[in-house]
């Protein structure tokens, strides 16, 4: 898509939003959500899956049939059975329990990385887009430079320097993602700041801070919401990868990537052990991506017709 059509779509979308905002609010959030999910089955499935995953992650101690770190040296690398639904790993630990506990780390990691990216990217993008001039020029070159790094290479390098561990690894991932958000936010700010309602507010003597907080950010944030949802999938994959390399979640704590690393060592003896964590990563990333695409369609009605 060219920049021009992007801008047109954004301008149109913000105009529609302004029109919608002017109408009295007739439906509650719950009704609105229900109507959306009724019409978008993919979004409904993704949200349901993610909701179950979040609940499972938080309540893992209640649901897990075993202690995830409890070793049972009599039952090593067992295939799935009624006692161990997904079998056991090379130390006799229950794979299903470890998968549940791993979901907590996966979601925490994705949330942390994207949270950091948003916390840095949104303010930076809005300010440079709004202020412009040499500050914009200088910061944009910094953004270009960080974006030139392969994200995982930068994350591995920063984790190596900060010290290995899940939180450090996700700070590193968040740092490498921040420029993506900053760039989108900057582009949107450039579109929105020339909109009529911003000019009107300026005419009424609104301060810069007021303009940014009340008018620019709420109207420029929509594409970022889509980006955030898609980014959760990338962050999740990054966590799995870094934990696979032992740079993320540290043993004996469980993570999907770490489970795959162990399963890989014993793949000839117990090939089934690599299935559950792999599918968990795949399905969760797929759910975030599908949800992101659905939100994109929801926020920009012009896309629907093209599909």
């Amino acid at each position: 898509m060219t920049d021009a059509t992007n801008n047109n779509a954004a301008v149109r979308a913000s105009a529609e939003r302004a029109a919608v905002a002017a109408l009295p609010r007739q439906e509650s959030v719950a009704t609105w959500l229900w109507n959306w999910l009724k019409h978008d089955k993919r979004a409904a499935i993704s949200i349901t899956y993610l909701a179950i995953l979040v609940i499972a992650a938080i309540l893992a101690p209640l649901f897990a049939p075993y202690d995830p770190n409890e070793q049972n040296l009599m039952d090593l690398l067992m295939p799935p059975s009624s006692a161990h639904w997904l079998g056991t790993d090379d130390l006799g630990r229950d794979t299903f329990s470890r998968l549940l506990y791993g979901s907590y780390n996966a979601l925490y990691a994705a949330g942390l990385a994207v949270g950091i990216a948003v916390a840095i990217g949104v303010p930076v993008g809005v300010v440079i887009g709004f202020v412009g001039g040499w500050i914009d020029e200088a910061v944009s070159r910094v953004i270009d430079a960080i974006l030139a790094f392969p994200p995982l290479v930068l994350a591995v390098a920063v984790t190596g320097a900060l010290g290995i561990g899940l939180t450090n690894a996700m700070i590193a991932v968040g740092f490498s993602f921040a420029p993506v958000i900053a760039r989108t936010m900057r582009a949107q700010t450039l579109v929105v700041k020339n909109a009529v309602y911003v000019e009107a507010a300026t005419g009424f003597g609104a301060s810069r801070a007021h303009l940014i907080v009340r008018h620019i950010v709420p109207n420029a944030i929509q594409p970022v919401i889509v980006e955030i949802t898609l980014m959760l999938a990338v962050a999740l994959l990054a966590e799995a990868g870094l934990s696979f390399l032992s740079l993320g979640v540290q043993p004996p704590e469980s993570s999907w990537g770490g489970m795959l690393a162990r399963a890989y060592h014993y793949v000839e003896v117990a090939p089934a052990q690599m299935l559950a964590p792999g599918f968990a990563i795949l399905l969760t990333a797929l759910a975030f991506n599908t949800l992101g695409e659905s939100i994109r369609v929801l926020l920009d009605p012009t896309i629907k017709k093209k599909r």
């Binding site: 270009d144 430079a145 790094f149 591995v156 390098a157 290995i164 799995a240 990868g241 792999g278 990333a285």
Partner: protein, 318 residues
């Protein structure tokens, strides 16, 4: 041609600050290490003399800017320092391993383009058909699947079960090209899924946009056949998009190569950077990050120039 020459010069000018910032990011990795960098760099069980020596060599007692300029000066002379572990020259370590990574990434990029672009074209011309839906679903799966998991699955079946490809290791391309490609096939295949998925999806939507535009409706109204419209006009219009997207994938491929080299025990720079990060061997980590970011910046430049050659408007407008 004149416009293109000017554009290249302007691009090079824009690259200078980007390269400077990128090198500064790499340089400052030493400073985000918790604790005294000299003590960390000296490694465990270092004597006080060794720590002082490190501090002197790196000039940690000098202002940061001076340190950066010194470091940059050394880098420009291909002096990336020594590994804290093996004491080997970092530049030598990297140049020994880089060919394996380049082969893997280039192979994956080629596979991705050869599979992904035709898929995208086919899906766009058959919009709404079952095959289009299959391709679109495959594209969704391709971006969500963890490459290293796919790598493990490929190893399990193609190597350990059916013995079609070697499970691990790598062979130098210059020593034995056929063996080298045979070793690189499974990792490149695992690596290429993202590229296939992204290209298929983007080429499809770019081509759909072109084919449904006013311009193309006019061509059709003039009586041009579908295939002539597609091959003579449609693809020419999306060529730049394909090139740009393919170029952008290099960055992601280097990312994924870090993990896949670990899965397939390929002695490339990806495996080396994760190993070095685990061991806090910061000079090696810095060296690899630096080399890869320079590669990405150069490839982006080449893509820009090729785009300008494909479409003179690009050169004129930037």
């Amino acid at each position: 041609m004149y416009a293109i020459g000017r554009m290249i010069l302007r691009r090079l000018g824009q690259l200078v600050p980007v390269v400077l910032v990128a090198t500064f990011v790499v340089f400052s990795l030493v400073f985000i290490m918790p604790g005294d960098p000299a003590i960390v760099l000296a490694g465990d069980y270092a004597t006080q003399e060794r720590i002082d020596e490190i501090r002197r060599i790196h000039g940690f007692d000098q202002p940061m800017l001076v340190q950066y300029l010194n470091w940059l000066w050394n880098v420009l002379h291909f002096d990336l320092g020594q590994s804290l572990y093996s004491n080997e020259d970092v530049a030598k370590l990297i140049s020994d391993r880089l060919p394996h990574t380049i082969l893997l990434v280039a192979y994956a990029l080629m596979l991705g383009a050869v599979i992904g672009i035709p898929m995208g074209i086919y899906a766009a011309t058959q919009q709404g058909s079952t095959i289009d839906k299959l391709i679109t679903s495959f594209a969704s799966l391709g971006v969500a699947i963890p490459n290293f998991w796919l790598g493990i699955i490929l190893v399990t079946y193609f190597s350990l079960t059916w013995h079609l490809f070697p499970a691990t290791g790598a062979v130098s391309f210059w020593d034995d090209p056929v063996e080298a490609l045979r070793h690189a096939t499974l990792p490149a295949l695992a690596l290429s899924t993202n590229v296939v998925a992204v290209l298929a999806r983007q080429v499809r939507s770019a081509l759909l946009e072109v084919l449904t535009s006013q311009h193309f409706r006019t061509l059709r109204a003039k009586g041009l056949g579908s295939s002539s419209i597609l091959w003579k006009h449609g693809l020419r219009n999306v060529a730049a998009t394909m090139l740009t997207i393919t170029g952008l994938q290099v960055n992601r491929l280097f990312s994924s190569a870090v993990i896949l080299e670990a899965v397939f025990a390929i002695p490339g720079v990806g495996a080396l950077i994760s190993y070095s990060a685990l061991n806090k061997d910061i000079p090696v980590v810095q060296g690899i990050a630096l080399v890869l970011v320079i590669y990405v910046i150069l490839i982006n430049l080449i893509v820009d120039v090729l785009n300008a050659l494909l479409d003179p408007r690009v050169a004129a407008s930037t």
